[in-house]
């Protein structure tokens, strides 16, 4: 099989607040032998605010899509907000010739033809790489973990060609293959964390985050697996505010960080030190240090 290649769109958060998502994702895809080619001079997708004017949102996205299209690559983007914006723009530009003309008139010196596909890394892992291959590369099964997979909103909504909006399975299936126990806390696994309202309506947002953390705890999860930097902002960074002092915290980490551990990548390369809610106990439970001391290069095992 030819080597998988994607045009990689990290998005703004992955260069700042979600650096460890970027680090762990790159390490995981390297291990999966998938090449990520970063889009040159990519611009912000416009996040939620650009949604107030569709033409603006599609044009901002199109500038990035044009780069990938010119190179015949599909786009891979790990942030759910970026994924939603880029994927919707790609779809609209594919279907609507009038919009294509409008957007091309707004872009200077770039042209979109509406032929590019946009994927979330989960889709690339489950569909393109395949869980069989992930399984064959799993050297440190996550057996002691009881993972609550958190999909958030925008991987499955509003577009849902790759996953069902109500009860998605990609993360569940992935963590099953990685050896973890997957905890069911439906319907909270796709319920909004409130991230978009963090600044403007903080009390509402924190309450949404608290509800979903409490449900995952109640169902016995010992870690929450995340796939979006805004969810991370709520569920990790703002978790102390959301839960208050008298509730035991629940580590919330990127799914790529846990996946990296299972694939035998050193924790140092996965950015666990950047967690606000400490993941130390989690790593101790997995006896990660011990394993890496014994088997410094998993390939030789």
């Amino acid at each position: 099989m030819a080597k998988l290649r994607y045009a990689y769109y990290p998005g703004c958060s992955l260069t700042t607040s979600a650096k460890e998502y970027d680090q762990s994702l790159r390490a995981v895809f390297e291990r999966l032998d998938v090449e990520l080619i970063e889009i040159e001079d990519w611009n912000c997708c416009g996040a939620t605010p650009a949604g107030q004017d569709e033409l603006l949102a599609h044009s901002l996205a199109a500038r990035n899509l044009a780069w990938a299209e010119a190179r015949g690559l599909d786009v891979l983007t790990p942030c759910s907000e970026c994924y939603k914006n880029l994927a919707r723009a790609a779809e609209a530009l594919h279907e609507d010739a009038h919009l294509r003309r409008e957007v091309n008139a707004i872009l200077e010196g770039r042209t979109v033809r509406g032929v590019v596909r946009v994927k979330h890394p989960l889709e690339a892992i489950v569909r393109d790489v395949g869980l069989e291959r992930v399984k064959s590369l799993t050297t440190f099964p996550l057996t002691p973990l009881r993972v609550a997979p958190y999909y958030g909103c925008l991987i499955t909504r509003p577009r849902h060609d790759f996953e069902r909006p109500d009860d998605p399975k990609a993360l569940d299936d992935l963590f099953t293959v990685l050896g973890a126990r997957v905890m069911d806390y439906y319907p909270y696994k796709t319920r909004c964390c409130g991230g978009a309202l963090l600044l403007s309506n903080q009390a509402v947002a924190l309450d949404m985050t608290r509800q979903l953390l409490m449900k995952a705890k109640e169902r016995g999860a010992n870690v929450l697996a995340l796939a979006c930097p805004m969810c991370d902002m709520m569920l990790d960074v703002y978790q102390p505010q959301a839960l208050g002092d008298d509730v035991i915290p629940l580590p919330a980490v990127y799914f790529t960080q846990l996946m990296g551990l299972a694939l035998g990548i050193e924790p140092r390369r996965l950015g666990f030190q950047a967690r606000v809610v400490s993941a130390d106990k989690l790593l101790a439970r997995l006896r990660v240090e011990e394993k890496h001391a014994k088997e410094p290069t998993p390939e030789t095992a």
Binding site: P165, C192, G194, N201
Partner: protein, 210 residues
């Protein structure tokens, strides 16, 4: 124009803006089943539920809708959109209403301050720069809140989660992004002017029936 005057213009059959006309068209097939409100996680905090907002748009209550808190409490989770039996993207309708409220100079809400600050920064740098977003947002709101963010800010700085300088695109790319904003803005302005030209005749006709 005062809010009352605005409402009066609409009541008398005055012209909705081209953007508003698009929204009215988008919700025309709504059957008021309330699925959107039922799935909305923030509906309990809203002054009008999403279903009510849809109804108000259908009834031409433009001003009340654009003044509502509801449109700014949408967390854009799209639960409503995927469940609407009439395939209306309720979340996109609310987003467009937020845009119209800004364009038409409605009173500033927290969400409006946030959106303006956010787009301003992207327009300038081509990418987001969170520390400036916080400064701009709180400078317009409760500046004292910035003090409360000190400890958290230090933690994030220590963990390498925020930078002190914006990541700018190289000048050529930066200019491309700025032109995108300018051209979209020019387009919207031209549309509004075109609609306004057609407006007086319509209004006179409406008065004649008064």
């Amino acid at each position: 124009m005062t809010n009352e005057a605005r409402e009066e213009v609409v009541r008398l059959g005055g012209p909705p803006s081209p953007a508003m006309a698009e929204v009215v068209e988008a919700v025309a097939s709504c059957i008021q089943c309330g699925t959107c409100s039922g799935t909305c996680p923030t509906a309990p905090a809203m002054d009008y539920t999403p279903r009510q907002v849809m109804h108000m748009v259908q009834q031409g209550m433009k001003d009340a809708v654009l003044r509502s808190k509801a449109i700014w409490l949408c967390a854009t989770c799209f639960s409503c959109t995927v469940r609407c039996p009439r395939s209306i993207s309720v979340a996109d309708v609310l987003a467009r209403l937020r845009g119209i409220a800004i364009e038409e100079g409605y009173a500033e809400t927290n969400g409006m301050t946030f959106n303006k600050a956010f787009l301003n920064i992207i327009r300038r740098y081509g990418r987001m720069f969170e520390p400036e977003l916080l400064l701009r947002y709180h400078a317009r709101k409760q500046t004292w809140r910035l003090l409360g963010m000190g400890p958290l800010g230090l933690t994030l700085l220590r963990k390498g989660k925020i930078g002190l300088l914006p990541e700018r695109l190289p000048p050529a790319g930066n200019q491309e992004v700025q032109r995108i904003f300018e051209r979209v803005q020019e387009r919207r302005k031209a549309e509004r002017l075109k609609a306004a030209e057609g407006a007086p005749a319509k209004k006179e006709g409406g008065n004649g029936h008064g």
